[in-house]
Amino acid sequence: MAEIVSLTDAVAAAIRDGDAVAMEGFTHLIPFAAGHEVIRQRRRDLTLIRMTPDVIYDQLIGAGCASKLIFSWGGNPGVGSLHRFRDAVENRWPGPLKLEEHSHAGMANRYVAGASGVPFAVLRGYRGTGLEGLPGLDGQPSVRPITCPFTGETLTAVAALNPDVAVIHAQHADRAGNVQLWGITGVQKEAVLSARRAVVTVEEIVPELRPQPGAIVLPGWTIDYIARVPGGAHPSYALGYSQRDNDFYVAWDAISRERASFRRWLETDVFALAGTARAKSEDGSGS
């Protein structure tokens, strides 16, 4: 059953050094504030999992939290490269980063398999690409051809993903810990249901969830910790609450390009916020 706690307590309780952590949110509802708390708590040796390790994982990788990355697209959407990700892969700074690389369709299906409790998912994909032959983090391929038992056709199997922890941001939770998100809902439901533990940050804790077009509801008993963090998806956005801060995504290119400017940003925009309202969030009693 979900406990409503501060963000600091949620991260401290749910995420340990060495964990495989999936922070999901496809452009929308990206749990940036939770990522910053992971940086402040100086977690190390994480296996980061995410379809699009955009600016949020650029920050975690540059801060030295990760040793492995499972992903399908590592860029700054509409802007260009992720400089901290590239520095890690090309120059091993601040340390080596081992990759397990897929396509979006493959990653989405890996979460589906994990959420469904089966060891793999089947899709038409990867055939003829270089991705087919790549080793996974354990040295074994996580993509293999499979013969359909009914038609004999060759399809592709991708290994299930079962992260230790899933972290997402949502618009609402009620006091019983039921979580509701709407707009672009990405792969968050699958990420939560594939993971052993789940942390959710929310814009608001409401007395009662109300119907919203296209909304997903995750019952409180599928979640471990909920923290109220208004604006916790910034610079991404929460439909109904905020707009995507496209200027920040553009500015990130310059902030992250050099190690020194990135470190200055870490100090002023992450570490210096320890203990402030934005970093601590609230336990919901103030709403």
Partner: protein, 263 residues
């Protein structure tokens, strides 16, 4: 027109980006379903919808189906896409039910490197995957878009660095190593139909599947396209002269750009 500069049409001055965007937009027919990537493909698809293809169905990999943005979004998940869509579905659903099933007519892709058979690399530059010279973003939705859309349009600038004899890594399959390869791999879509560059247009030879220059923009010469291609480029015997952007095309593009927040 020169590759990087501007040129003049009866509709006004235009850049090579605007020429590419207009040329890419013209490849789309009204009523098509179109899987759109961000950047120039998104600009082209929105230009088509604003001009000759008002019923074009724009589908973004964020799960927004039938999005009708009034401006050019920066990301595939900007709020305007969800707010104007006919339906918003999850990421597993957009790839499985909509793309993999063959429901989407045309996919628009960019590339880091492209080879003579239309294979795309967006993964690494350099011979060693584990120790790359340049780490590119990776696959995203492209491998399955290239496999399963009924046809694919590729958009990228033509240089010797990007148009290579052999890609360093096959992220997305075009025609593989030539005729019959897509069929042997069981790929359901037909593959690349056109490549739109800042010099003109390439199309696959119907027999050999090799990309062949079939159209040039005003003022571009065959020597210029050959010098900016990393393989011995085939040029069609009946090369088309591709029209400069028209006044209405430029006006629609300017309107989309003017509406874009922060522009």
């Amino acid at each position: 027109m020169s590759a990087s500069g501007t040129a003049v049409t009866e509709g006004g001055t235009f850049t090579s980006d605007q020429m590419m965007t207009a040329c890419a937009a013209r490849t789309l027919r009204d009523g098509m379903t179109c899987f759109v990537g961000i950047g120039l493909p998104s600009a082209a698809a929105n230009l088509a919808r604003a001009t000759h293809a008002p019923n074009l169905v724009l589908i973004y990999e964020s799960g927004t189906i039938g999005a009708k943005p009034g401006w050019l979004p920066l990301s595939i998940g900007d709020g305007v896409l969800a707010e104007t869509a006919d339906a918003v579905v999850s990421v597993p659903e957009i790839f499985n039910y909509w793309l993999q099933s063959g429901r989407i007519d045309v996919g628009f892709l960019g590339a880091g490197q492209l080879d003579r058979f239309g294979n795309i690399n967006t993964t690494v530059i350099g011979a060693q995957y584990a120790d790359p010279k340049v780490r590119l973003p990776g696959a995203g939705g492209a491998p399955e878009i290239a496999a399963s859309c009924q046809e694919v349009i590729i958009v990228l600038r033509q240089t010797r660095r990007s148009f290579v004899e052999r890609v360093d890594f096959i992220t997305s399959v075009g025609y593989g190593d030539g005729p019959g390869h897509r069929e042997r791999l069981g790929l359901t879509g037909a593959g690349p139909r056109k490549v739109i560059t800042d010099l003109g247009m390439l199309e696959p030879d119907p027999v050999t599947r090799e990309l062949t220059m079939t159209g040039l923009y005003p003022g571009v010469t065959t020597d210029e396209v050959r010098s900016r291609t990393g393989w011995d480029l085939a040029v069609s015997a009946d090369l088309q002269a591709l029209a400069a952007p028209t006044g209405p095309e430029l006006a629609a593009l300017h309107a989309l750009q003017a509406m874009t927040p922060g522009s």
